[in-house]
């Protein structure tokens, strides 16, 4: 036991505060089974979809497979905002739907358990919280992209689907989608801050925005317009198998700009409103 405490108050630097909060989030992420379950889901889903496309139809007759190439489970051949079949939609972008649910559960537990009180009682600032959750969400989704890739490749090998494609484009597509994780994670963090008192609404809203239904709807009106790249779902679709050297910077800029916007908005909401 110590004696009378010395009254010294040293303000921790921004980096120290952020590293402390990130440390907590990483510790929690690696010590809870949820993260590993979602990694497994991300790996299983592409394997299931790829395997099922070779299945015969209800009448027993062979149907045209949704994917002629394994890498199509990773990204579409061209940036198609208007989807005509599920094969054009179901690719690595689905990670952002599972990721949204995971981020919602992760942040929701902060509020449900009351841990957020411990955070804000101590030195943690609202902007640290937003940034930390965005980074941890982005990291989780990037990891899910990797397991998705592994799952897709293994399923491709097992089903004997072709792997013939430009290697550089695949790398750009995968990296582009991993980069987009930051923007998506910031969006989900922001949504969870808005619906912090309603766990169910947080998950539902994350799922809704994660599906990219608004952009698909907009694309139905505007057509395959490249202006849609300014949105998160648009840039995520833009990271496709026909991608080039411009694709990655577009994804990077879009992701960072949206991350900054959502972080500023989230911080403002947290600062102006009661924590819970």
């Amino acid at each position: 036991m110590t004696g009378i405490n010395e009254l010294k108050f040293e303000s921790p630097s921004f980096l120290k505060r952020l590293s402390g909060m990130l440390g907590v989030d990483f510790y929690r992420l690696f010590h809870t089974p949820m993260f590993y379950i979602f990694l497994a889901i991300a790996a299983i889903i592409p394997a299931m979809i790829l395997s099922m496309t070779d299945m015969p139809g209800p009448d027993g007759a062979a149907v045209a497979p949704l994917y002629t190439n394994t890498w199509q489970i990773i990204a579409a051949d061209t940036p198609l905002y208007v989807v005509s079949d599920i094969g054009e939609y179901a690719n690595m972008n689905m990670v952002f739907i599972f990721g949204g649910i995971m981020v919602s559960i992760f942040i929701g537990h902060d509020y449900k358990s009351g841990y957020v009180k411990q955070l804000f009682t101590t030195h943690a600032k609202k902007q640290d919280y937003m940034m930390s959750k965005s980074i941890i969400g982005a990291f989780s989704m990037a990891c899910m992209c990797i397991t998705y890739l592994i799952g897709g490749v293994i399923a491709g090998l097992l089903t004997g689907t072709s792997f013939a494609v430009n290697g550089g484009s695949v790398i750009i597509a995968v990296l582009g989608k991993m980069v987009m994780s930051l923007g998506w994670a910031s969006l989900y963090t922001f949504l969870n801050i808005i619906f912090r008192r309603y766990f169910g609404l947080s998950i539902a809203s994350s799922f809704f925005f994660g599906t990219g239904i608004l952009i698909i709807g907009a694309a139905a009106i505007l057509g395959n317009n490249s202006v849609l790249n300014i949105f998160l779902y648009g840039s995520s679709v833009y990271a496709c198998l026909s991608g080039n050297i411009v694709t990655l910077p577009v994804c990077l800029v879009c992701s960072i700009v949206w991350a900054v916007i959502y972080n500023i908005l989230g911080t403002r909401i947290l600062s102006k409103c009661d924590v819970y």
Binding site: L7, F9, S11, K16, K117, T121, H123, K125, D274
Partner: protein, 292 residues
Amino acid sequence: MNAIEIRNLSKSFCGMYAVNHLNMTVPVGAIYGFIGENGSGKSTTEKLICGHLVPNEGEIKLFGKDYTDAGVRVRVGALIENAGCFPNSSVWDNLMMQAINLGLEHRTDEINRVLKIVRMEDSAHIKFKSCSLGMKQRIGIAMALLGDPALLILDEPINGLDTDGMRIMKEILVDITQNYGCTVLISSHILGELEKIATHYGIIRQGKMICEISAKDMDSCARLFISLKTRICREQKLSCKRNSGMSGRKKNILGYMMWMIRRASWNTFSKTGTLSEGSAETKSVLKNTMSN
């Protein structure tokens, strides 16, 4: 310097004031007993101090600095309502997370130290959800004690505990307050819970601070009150003996007088704001009434 200095603090929910222009001063090193009935605004005040709620107006200063200052906040520990732990994580993991958040260097030693204080050395690897209410409260205190806090805020830590849990919790509180040396703000709706540990008291009612008083003054006021009450009772007994043959109407008048005396003492106490001033006035009112 004061550990907590609150001026004109207000917080309303849907137009209803939970804290209404509250002023509060907690000296450094004090064990401040924050007393008030349920719904009087104790927890809201504590949440405002902890930064969980945004005030409508007013100023909160901790150790002379604004309450949002990260340097001050890093040395504030709190147990508000519940421990704020993840139910599926172990006690150790929960404490470790808080230690990481605070950026402590010797985390294992620090966790062992606080677990020893709350008498939970052997329960570190139990999942938080498997702990009893008493254990959860103690874990909450352990969380608050991490990182050498200069200010400890405890919201009704004894509330809801069984006799044994209450005894252990009281032992821990005495231990912390006597040996730890930090300023403690501890709320309760039962004055008796805090009598052994508090050095200062603040009494809150309907979101307003009725009075702030030191334990010494509170003690002397209580003594005076008891002595006056004893005298009144003695007088009452004597007059009853003397007037054993008095009519029912006379007995009723005597009863009404006693009620008036009690009411007068309470009113002066409420109006004056401080019990020490009020008690002097009460004394004179009571003496006048007695002599009459």
